[in-house]
C-alpha cells in the first residue's frame, strides 16, 4: 500500500487536470450518443409527449370564459353571489359590451356550449339572446339590466350569473371534480347530486373487471404456454399459429362473433338447451352484461398473456425438473417449487400488458357490455365525440393514467419490475 504524498490534482499528459480532461472526452461521447438518438427523441416528443401533454392540459384549462367575456369577468369579481341579489348595471353593461364583440367573432355560442356543461340551459340562452343582443347599441340602449332581462328572463336569474362567476377562473379544478362525482359550486366544492353519480362506479368497475380479465388470462394462458414450450418445435409452431390466428383477425369481427356465440338464441345456449341442461324459457344471460365483457375481452387479450409466458418458459431448463424429481420430489412439488418460480417473470409481464390494455378498452365493452359491462373509457369516448366536453374527458384520462402509474409502482414494490421478462 503506497501512500501518495502528492496532494494536488492528478494531471493528464498535457497538463490539464485529469478530471477535466475526462469530462471533456465524455462530453463528446455523450453529444454523439445524443445526436444518434435525436431523431427518435424528437419523434417521441412531437408525436407522443407533446400531444398527450396538451390533451392533459385541457383538464385544467378554462381560459375561454375570460377570453370571451374579459370585462364581465373583471367586474363580476366584486359581486357577492351568495347575497341572492342580482349584479348591478355595471356588470350588465360590461356583459353587453363583451357579447357584442363575441357575437361578431361568433364566439358566444361556443361559450354557451362550454357553460352548458355546468348549468343546463345556458347553451340556448346564449344562442337565442345573441340574436337580439346583436341589435343593441352600447351608447343609446341602456340601462342594460332591464334590456337583457327583457330579452330573456334568465338574465334576471341569480343562478345564471353565479354559474358564469364560478367558472370564470383561468385554470379550474372543475373538470377533475366532475370526474370524481363532485362539482364546483359558488359555495365551494360539493358532492355531485346522487342521481348523476356515475364516474366512481365506472372507475371501480373498470379496475375490478380488468383484474378479473387478467386473472382469467393467467388461468387460461398458463397451461397453453406450458404446452407450447414443452412440445417439439414442429407441433409447437402449429399451435402457435392457432394462438396467433385470432390475433390477426379484426377486433370487431371477433367481438361480433362472440355475440353470435353468447346471445340467448346463440350457439352456446342452443347447445345447452339441446343437451337438456337449460330449459328453453330459462336461457343463460351471458352477453350484454359484465359476463359478456369478461368473456370477450379475455379471449381478445389472451395472446398478450400467452406470448410473454411462452418465451419465458422456453428458457427454463427441463433438466431442473428432472433433477428435482430424481431427488425425490413429487410431480406437484417439482412444478410448484422449481418450475413455477422460474415462470413468474412471464406471468408478471403478461399481467401488466393485459391489465393496462384492458383498462383502456372501449370498443368491446360497448358492443357486448350492455348496461352493466361498460368501462370508464366508454364515458371518455362519449365526452370526446358526442358531448364535446374535452376538459372532462382529459380529466378522466389523467386520472386513469395516474391509476395505472400507481398500480405499476405498487407492482414494482410487491413483485419487483426487474422480475418481469418478455423473453
Amino acid at each position: 500500500m503506497s501512500e501518495t504524498t502528492h496532494t494536488g490534482p492528478v494531471l493528464a499528459a498535457d497538463g490539464t487536470p485529469l478530471k477535466k480532461s475526462l469530462a471533456r472526452a465524455l462530453r463528446v461521447e455523450k453529444m454523439r450518443a445524443l445526436l444518434m438518438i435525436a431523431p427518435l427523441l424528437l419523434f417521441v416528443m412531437f408525436s407522443f409527449i407533446w400531444p398527450i401533454g396538451e390533451m392533459l392540459f385541457r383538464s385544467v384549462d378554462n381560459r375561454e370564459v375570460g377570453e370571451v367575456l374579459p370585462k364581465t369577468v373583471a367586474v363580476l369579481k366584486d359581486w357577492d353571489g351568495t347575497s341572492g341579489e342580482l349584479p348591478d348595471e355595471t356588470v350588465y353593461q360590461a356583459f353587453t359590451a363583451d357579447m357584442l364583440v363575441a357575437i361578431d367573432a361568433k364566439q358566444h355560442t361556443k361559450l354557451g356550449r362550454r357553460l352548458n356543461f355546468e348549468k343546463t340551459g345556458i347553451s340556448s340562452l346564449f344562442r337565442k339572446s345573441g340574436r337580439k343582443i346583436k341589435k343593441l347599441d352600447l351608447e343609446t340602449d341602456g340601462p342594460f339590466k332591464e334590456a337583457l332581462i327583457k330579452i330573456d328572463k334568465k338574465w334576471g336569474d341569480v343562478e345564471t350569473w353565479k354559474a358564469i362567476q364560478t367558472h370564470s377562473v383561468n385554470y379550474t379544478n372543475g373538470y377533475y371534480l366532475n370526474a370524481i362525482d363532485m362539482q364546483r359550486t359558488p359555495e365551494g366544492v360539493a358532492v355531485q347530486s346522487e342521481s348523476k353519480r356515475i364516474m366512481m362506479t365506472l372507475f371501480k368497475r373498470t379496475l375490478w373487471m380488468s383484474l378479473v380479465i387478467t386473472g382469467m388470462c393467467v388461468l387460461l394462458g398458463y397451461p397453453v404456454a406450458w404446452i407450447l414450450a414443452n412440445l417439439p418445435a414442429r407441433s409447437a409452431n402449429l399451435l402457435m399459429i392457432l394462438v396467433l390466428l385470432p390475433f390477426w383477425t379484426s377486433l370487431l369481427v371477433r367481438t361480433s362473433a362472440w355475440k353470435v356465440m353468447l346471445q340467448q338464441q346463440g350457439v352456446i345456449n342452443e347447445v345447452l338447451v339441446w343437451l337438456g341442461l337449460v330449459a328453453t324459457d330459462d336461457r343463460l344471460v351471458i352477453i350484454n352484461n359484465a359476463t359478456g365483457t369478461v368473456i370477450a375481452m379475455t379471449h381478445i387479450l389472451l395472446p398478450f398473456m400467452i406470448l410473454p409466458m411462452y418465451s419465458v418458459m422456453q428458457t427454463i431448463q427441463p433438466t431442473y425438473l428432472r433433477a428435482a424429481k430424481s431427488l425425490g420430489a413429487t410431480n406437484w412439488t417439482a412444478f410448484w417449487r422449481v418450475y413455477f418460480p422460474q415462470s413468474i417473470p412471464g406471468i408478471g409481464a403478461g399481467s401488466i400488458l393485459v391489465f393496462i390494455l384492458s383498462i383502456g378498452y372501449y370498443i368491446t365493452p360497448e358492443i357486448v357490455g350492455g348496461a352493466k359491462g361498460v368501462f370508464i373509457s366508454n364515458r371518455i369516448a362519449y365526452h370526446i365525440s358526442i358531448s364535446g366536453n374535452w376538459g372532462l374527458a382529459a380529466a378522466l384520462g389523467a386520472i386513469l393514467l395516474a391509476a395505472v402509474l400507481v398500480l405499476y409502482w405498487a407492482y414494482d414494490k410487491i413483485v419487483g419490475i426487474d422480475n418481469v421478462k418478455l423473453g
Binding site: 361568433k106 364566439q107 355560442t109 361556443k110 354557451g112 356550449r113 352548458n116 356543461f117 343546463t120 340551459g121 345556458i122 347553451s123 340556448s124 344562442r127 342521481s195 348523476k196 353519480r197 356515475i198 362506479t201 365506472l202 355475440k259 346471445q263 340467448q264 338464441q265 346463440g266 350484454n288 360497448e366 358492443i367 350492455g370 348496461a371 352493466k372 364515458r379 362519449y382 370526446i384 365525440s385 358526442i386 358531448s387 364535446g388 366536453n389 374535452w390
Partner: protein, 367 residues
C-alpha cells in the same frame, strides 16, 4: 311566356356551366359521410352525376360518426381537409355553435325547388340551423317480429312498455334521447307537454321510473345495425332503430318483421361546409351543394334507400327502388299513412339538456 321561361332557364344553365367550368374552383373534393348503404345511395344519386357534369374528382371518407371531434381537431391544427360533411342535424347545430361550420343563406346558395318555390320555403322548418343543409328525413321507430308477438301485433308505442301483452326482450338505444320522450308519452303525459315535463328533474325521474318497469327486459344498443340483427336472430321481439335499417330487414332480407310507425321520431341528416376553406374549395363545395340538394337529386336518393327527401317539392318525384322495383313512397317515414303520430327531434331542447340527462340516464343504467 313559355319561350321566355325556357330562354331564362337556358341562360341560367349557361351561367352555371360557365361558373363550374371556371378555373377558380378546386378540381378535387373530399366528401365525408356515414359509409355503407347510405354512402352508396349518395354515390349513385349525387356524386356520380356531379362528377360527370363537372369533371371533379370526389374522394369519399366514411368518418361522419366522429365528424364533430375531427373537425374540432382539424380546426385547431389549422388544416381542414374536408370539403363537404354529412352530419345529423344535432351535430350541425353544435358545429355551427362552435364556429366550425359555414353559415349558409338558403335562398341564394341553394337551388330553388322545381316548382319555383324558394329554398327556404321548400325546406321549411327543416332548416334547423344556419349552417345546415337538410338532405333526408329519417326516423327512429320500432320494428317487431310478426311471428313472436301473438295474434294482435303491437300498434301503439305504449305496447313497448306492456310486458303482459308482449312478454319478451325489446331493444332500445343506449342513450336518453327518444327513450325519455316515449316513456313520458306512455306515462300519460300529453304529447305537447313532453319537453316541458322533461325539463324538470321530477319529469326526468318520472321518465326513468317508467323505463324502470321494462329495464330487465331491455337489450341496449349503440350501433344502428344491432336491432336488425337482434330481430333477425329472434333475440328480441321488438326494437327501435332507423327506419331505413328496418326497410332492408323486411324488404331486402325478407325477415318476418313489421314496422310500428307510431310515435316515430323524425330526425334530419344533411350537409355542412366546414368553416375556413380556401376560396377555390369553398366555391367547389357550394357548387356541389347547389347541385346535390336540388329537387330531382333528393328524390333520386330515395331510389336507393328508404329515407324521405327533405324538400317538399321532391316528394311527388319519389319513384321505385332501383333494384327491388317496389314503390318507395309507402316506405317513407313521411308517407301520410306512416306519419299519423310523429315527433320531430327537439334540437334546442337536447342541445341544452343532453349532458345533464345523459349523466342521469347512465347512472340509472348502472344501478
Amino acid at each position: 311566356m313559355k319561350f321566355t321561361k325556357t330562354l331564362m332557364a337556358t341562360t341560367a344553365l349557361t351561367m352555371v356551366a360557365g361558373v363550374s367550368g371556371a378555373a377558380d374552383m378546386a378540381d378535387e373534393m373530399t366528401i365525408v359521410s356515414w359509409g355503407g348503404a347510405y354512402s352508396k345511395s349518395q354515390l349513385k344519386a349525387y356524386h356520380e352525376p356531379y362528377a360527370e357534369k363537372s369533371g371533379v374528382n370526389i374522394i369519399n371518407d366514411d368518418s361522419s360518426a366522429e365528424a364533430v371531434a375531427k373537425l374540432r381537431a382539424m380546426n385547431e391544427a389549422g388544416n381542414v381537409t374536408w370539403d363537404v360533411v354529412d352530419v345529423v342535424a344535432a351535430d350541425a347545430m353544435r358545429l355551427c355553435d362552435e364556429g366550425l361550420a359555414m353559415e349558409i343563406d338558403a335562398d341564394t346558395q341553394l337551388a330553388d325547388g322545381d316548382n319555383g318555390m324558394k329554398a327556404s320555403e321548400d325546406f321549411g322548418e327543416l332548416l334547423v340551423s344556419d349552417c345546415f343543409i337538410p338532405q333526408i328525413v329519417y326516423s327512429t321507430t320500432f320494428g317487431y317480429r310478426t311471428d313472436l308477438v301473438g295474434d294482435t301485433p303491437p300498434s301503439k308505442i305504449c305496447d313497448v312498455f306492456d310486458l303482459e301483452a308482449y312478454p319478451g326482450k325489446r331493444s332500445l338505444e343506449k342513450r336518453p334521447i327518444n327513450n325519455m320522450e316515449w316513456a313520458l308519452l306512455c306515462d300519460g303525459v300529453a304529447k305537447e307537454d313532453v319537453y316541458e315535463v322533461l325539463a324538470t328533474p321530477e319529469g326526468q325521474d318520472k321518465a326513468l321510473a317508467k323505463l324502470d318497469t321494462i329495464k330487465d327486459s331491455v337489450v341496449w344498443w349503440s350501433a344502428g345495425a344491432d336491432t336488425p340483427q337482434l330481430l333477425a336472430d329472434g333475440e328480441v321481439i321488438m326494437g327501435s332503430t332507423y327506419n331505413g335499417r328496418l326497410f332492408s330487414v323486411i324488404e331486402e332480407q325478407k325477415q318476418p318483421v313489421a314496422m310500428l310507425w307510431d310515435a316515430q321520431v323524425f330526425d334530419l341528416d344533411g350537409w355542412i361546409i366546414p368553416a375556413g376553406l380556401s376560396d377555390e374549395r369553398k366555391a367547389r363545395a357550394l357548387d356541389y351543394i347547389m347541385f346535390a340538394t336540388d329537387t330531382q337529386r333528393l328524390a333520386d336518393q330515395a331510389k336507393y334507400i328508404a329515407y324521405g327527401p327533405a324538400r317538399k317539392s321532391s316528394a311527388p318525384l319519389v319513384s321505385k327502388h332501383a333494384d327491388l322495383g317496389i314503390d318507395m313512397a309507402p316506405h317513407m317515414p313521411t308517407d301520410p299513412d306512416n306519419a299519423k303520430n310523429t315527433f320531430l327531434y327537439n334540437y334546442e331542447f337536447w342541445a341544452d339538456y343532453r349532458d345533464d340527462i345523459d349523466a342521469k340516464f347512465q347512472a340509472w343504467l348502472a344501478k
